[in-house]
């Protein structure tokens, strides 16, 4: 995979806050034109990672390349080519919507005025309203507008739909879709709303305590991660059965083993252990997969 095809490439990126690592040896590869969903619990390091991608934070170690640029050195060019929607919307509160749009647009080399007008209408924004009067949902939509109208090659969204009601969330995502559809634009977003990730992402990264636990295409993750319900006579699963598994939960004689590389071979291997009986294989949705990856990590610490 040549560098040209990658929108984002990071290697060994580490950031430490107050002696505890917020992000540890992060390795990401996001192909151009794909959607990458970043999921993980609060404080896992998602916002820190995104800020480093945008050049707002300097990593303590490792290299980052976004659209072939160094976010620390080429930040002006990067900001021209990347649209960023932060978690907290901190625009000028005293400006009016129209004023803020005009102010923001004046810095960009490319600004799609038609799309801007279209989005203002679609999002039902009133240009005369002061930003401080806007509700959370309107602020989110405004932030999105400001990020997409300068024709960015990539969108960086940090928890874009956090705290929004389902209808507004739908409108927001619709807005993203309309601007992103098929122009080789890359989207990198972090979210707590797993259903959004499942709808949008081509690839998913699970992060916990600053560590990337998994980095896989969505279908691979969904079809390859399954929970296997086992009955163990002795009440304890043999070591070799658990090795490489994502998570294991035992209560009494019953065990739930979550594996990340499910296939007929995996089942055969389990059946080969004496005293182990496979009861059933349970499919998992993305939310359950996320939870088990995190539980598994915490278990092994």
């Amino acid at each position: 995979m040549t560098d040209q095809s990658l929108a984002i490439r990071t290697g060994g990126v580490t950031k430490v806050f107050r002696r505890s690592p917020a992000v540890s040896k992060l390795k990401l590869e996001v192909k151009k034109g794909t959607v990458f969903g970043f999921i993980g619990p609060n404080g896992a390091g998602k916002t820190t990672a995104i800020k480093m991608l945008m050049g707002l934070l300097k990593p303590d170690a490792g290299e980052i390349s976004v659209l072939g640029l160094d976010p620390q050195k080429d930040f002006e060019e990067l900001k021209q080519r990347v649209g960023y929607v932060p978690e907290q919307h901190l625009e000028y509160r005293w400006m009016r919507v129209g004023e803020l749009i005009r102010f923001t647009s004046s810095f960009y080399d490319r600004w799609d005025e038609q799309m801007c007008r279209q989005l203002v209408q679609q999002f039902k924004l009133n240009e005369r309203d002061k930003v401080k009067w806007l509700s959370k949902g309107m602020l989110a939509k405004l932030s999105l507008l400001l990020a997409v109208c300068h024709e960015p090659e990539m969108l960086l969204l940090d928890e874009p739909t956090g705290g929004l009601d389902p209808l507004i969330r739908e409108e927001f995502l619709d807005g993203v879709l309309r601007t992103v559809g098929g122009e080789d634009q890359t989207v990198f977003f972090s979210s707590h709303t797993i259903s959004d990730v499942q709808r949008f992402a081509d690839t998913v990264g699970i992060i916990n305590d600053g560590e990337l636990l998994c980095h896989l295409p969505v279908e691979t993750l969904l079809s390859g991660t399954k929970r296997i319900r086992l009955v163990v006579e002795s009440g304890k699963l043999p070591e070799e059965a658990v090795i490489g598994a994502v998570y294991c939960h035992t209560s009494g004689r019953e065990s739930l083993l979550t594996v990340g590389d499910f296939g007929p071979a995996a089942v055969e291997k389990l059946k080969s252990f004496a005293g182990v009986k496979v009861l059933e294989v349970i499919d998992m949705g993305l939310e359950e997969i996320l939870k088990d990856y995190i539980r598994g990590r915490r278990q092994s610490i």
Binding site: G181, G182, R199, L286
Partner: protein, 129 residues
């Protein structure tokens, strides 16, 4: 079309399955066009790549054919293929039901009896689970 973003089934499979059953049921007639990638993606609020993958799957199965620049169209023997696939899907469903029944201790005769009753109930009109 409705998709469940929380399901364990990847979305592209859900879309493909939806269209497959639609073809089998006559919702999509041979020769008719499927909605464009972008249109369907917008309608379902999903990644256009996902719709693309669903369409590619259907194309591979011979249910639809792509005409350059125009779109995807339902093929003539799509209905048969779709019914065949539906048959496969039901077979898989039955297999799981039987496995679950056996795991909870039911014997073959019980299972057969339960199946016959279900078949009768549903045919009589009523979707009793």
């Amino acid at each position: 079309m409705v998709i469940d973003p929380n399901s364990h089934v990847p979305i592209f499979e859900q879309i493909a399955a939806n269209i497959r059953t639609g073809i089998a049921a006559g919702v999509h007639q041979p020769g008719e066009a499927l909605p464009s990638l972008r249109a369907l993606a917008l309608e379902l609020t999903v990644n256009p790549n996902t719709v693309k993958r669903a369409y590619e799957t259907l194309e591979r199965e011979g249910l639809v054919v792509s005409r350059r620049g125009v779109g995807l169209f339902v093929t003539d023997d799509a209905v048969n293929i779709a019914r065949g696939k539906a048959d496969q899907a039901v077979k898989a469903l039955f297999a799981r039901a039987v496995t679950a029944a056996k795991a909870s201790g039911l014997i073959e005769n019980d299972i057969r009896g339960t199946f016959e009753k279900a078949l009768k109930d549903v045919s009589a009109g009523g979707d009793k689970p």
